[in-house]
Amino acid sequence: MSIPSMEKKKVLVIDDEQDVREAVVSTLSYEGISVLSADRGDAGILLAEKERPDLILLDIAMPEKNGIQTLAEIKATDWGLETDVIMMTNLDDMEMMAQAIQNGSNEYVLKKDMSIQDLVKKVKAHLGEL
């Protein structure tokens, strides 16, 4: 099922909700995209630093370090500046959206408004593979 051109591209999913995170991981893997995942902001930053993903899907409402803080830390690194970050949340909040954009996120999407296939399309578009 995997598409050869996709194999080099890596996506990192950072979300504390296991059921959501695993659904994203399974779907993206099924679409032939190589996926890594983390359940906390700190673990995600460490993994990203090591693996250098092309795209990060980042949840906002997480325990310990929230998505906005995690984003700020990622964007403070050299590698982070070159990595696309999609904030993937259920926080339909203008202020949060403004903060995300201010801290350098590429996109802000609401899980409630998206089917998982919509998410796949977005990921592929960001990876330049659509």
């Binding site: 909700e17 659904a23 779907t27 099924y30 899980k111 409630k112 089917s115 998982i116």
Partner: protein, 433 residues
């Protein structure tokens, strides 16, 4: 009391005089020999009798009149004394000590007096608000309504139980129930009395309830997302392996998840309107693209229900500046209602037209209509028309509330024209900029 006793003695004396004169007259009559008596004697006796009788009658009449006047005067004075003094004291005591904050203002809205409760409410010292324009300390969500108060005061019109905010000395705001009525003082000047019942506590409770609904709905979003996405994954990976029956069960689950998703959205939107946290994010919207997408979304359901859905775009207007989300929220509710309440074979029309500064969007259907006497409650929260409840059990009564609130946030308005059994037309009027 003493006077009355003297009056009685005078009356008794008069009566004795009358009896004495009568007896004397009768004696005089009997003494007269009527056969020989001459005219002057008759006349003298008759005049004497009549004169004394008239004197007694006049005396009595005068006396009675005098007594009645005195009695009436005394009574009136006593009444006035009792009522006036006690009512003045009673009313000023009520005004001063009432738990309800009172503010007395002049016809122009300048404060002439505040009672103790009002002083506490505003967080001021006595007399501090005197001479200030009270309307500068009152704010409301409905600015037009609040702006009308000075005019209403001038015209002598009542204001009853308006929910407004007052601004305290420390800059904090308090929710109050404002009533205003005007009265004329004895110099002929118009004055106003304001009562400002503090409802901050009720508002806090109300807010806490709304926040709870918001929080609860928000918490539901994550598990709903997990259900939706895993269900989708199940179909993507194993869709081909399910029997038709298995698929039909799973589709039911999927539809229910979507319904839950939409309900949670509605609850969250309602709480946002109630908490006033929705700020419009305006941007230019290309009407053609917007309505093409919109139509595509609703055509599926319209076709399912065998209702024709027609769009008449106003081609002379390309774009408007508004909040796209709020506009589509309002129109989604209006159009999905129109489709939902229109029987098979019916039609729904979306028509656009524009004025120099406004865009009008009407949604007309050939559905069941809304009973006349229920139309004024149509946009209130959780209200559903009786015929809608009867014929289509599924509904929350939030859709039109959300539509109306969305349009209000956009600075527009919704009106309705409907006839039961014939159809309904909702007209949305919003500013183009």
């Amino acid at each position: 009391m003493h006077k009355r006793k003297t009056n009685h003695i005078a009356f008794f004396a008069a009566l004795c005089t009358f009896i004495l004169i009568t007896v004397l007259t009768m004696v005089l009559y009997t003494r007269i020999d009527f056969a020989t008596a001459n005219l002057p004697e008759y006349l003298l006796a008759t005049l004497f009798f009549a004169g004394s009788l008239i004197a007694v009658i006049v005396f009595q009449a005068l006396h009675i009149k005098d007594d009645a006047t005195k009695l009436a005067h005394g009574l009136a004075q006593n009444m006035a004394k009792d009522m006036f003094i006690s009512s003045r004291e009673l009313f000023s005591e009520l005004y001063r000590g009432s738990p309800v904050p009172y503010v007395i203002i002049t016809g122009d809205g300048f404060v002439s007096s505040t009672n103790a409760s009002a002083i506490r409410l505003f967080g001021i010292t006595e007399g501090e608000l005197d001479g200030k324009n009270i309307f500068e300390y009152i704010e409301g969500d409905d600015e037009v309504k609040v702006g009308m108060y000075p005019e209403k005061l001038k015209q002598g019109l009542f204001v009853s139980d308006d929910e407004v905010r007052i601004i305290r000395k420390d800059g904090k705001q308090r929710w109050v129930l404002l009533s205003l009525f005007s009265f004329t003082d004895n110099k002929g000047h118009r004055n106003g009395l304001l009562t400002l019942v503090d409802i901050s506590k009720q508002k806090e409770i109300d807010r806490a309830k709304t926040e709870f609904v918001s929080l609860a709905s928000h918490q539901l979003r994550t598990p709903i997302t997990a259900m939706r996405w895993n269900m989708e994954l199940l179909f993507t990976k194993f869709g081909g392996e399910f029997s038709d029956l298995e698929k039909s069960y799973l589709i039911k689950v999927q539809n229910s998840i979507m319904r839950m998703n939409n309900l949670v959205d509605d609850f969250l939107n309602v709480s946002k309107f109630e908490l006033g946290t929705l700020v419009p994010q305006k941007s230019a919207i290309a009407l053609r693209t917007f309505f093409d997408d919109f139509l595509e979304e609703h055509l599926v359901r319209a076709t399912d229900r065998q209702v024709t859905l027609t769009l008449n775009l106003d081609e002379t207007l390309e774009s408007i500046i508004t909040d796209e989300k709020l506009l589509s929220m309002a129109l989604n509710n209006l159009v999905s209602n129109a489709i939902k309440y229109t029987p098979e074979g019916g039609s729904v029309f979306i028509d656009l037209s524009h004025g120099p500064s406004t865009l009008t969007i009407s949604v007309t259907d050939t559905g069941m209509g809304i009973p006349k006497d229920e139309q004024d409650r149509l946009f209130t929260k959780i209200f559903r028309a009786s015929n809608a409840v009867k014929n289509v059990p599924d509904g929350t009564g939030l859709g039109l509330y959300i539509a109306d609130q969305s349009v209000r946030v956009l600075g527009g308005s919704i009106t309705v024209a409907s006839e039961e059994g014939k159809g309904t037309c909702f007209t949305v009027l919003i500013p183009r900029n």
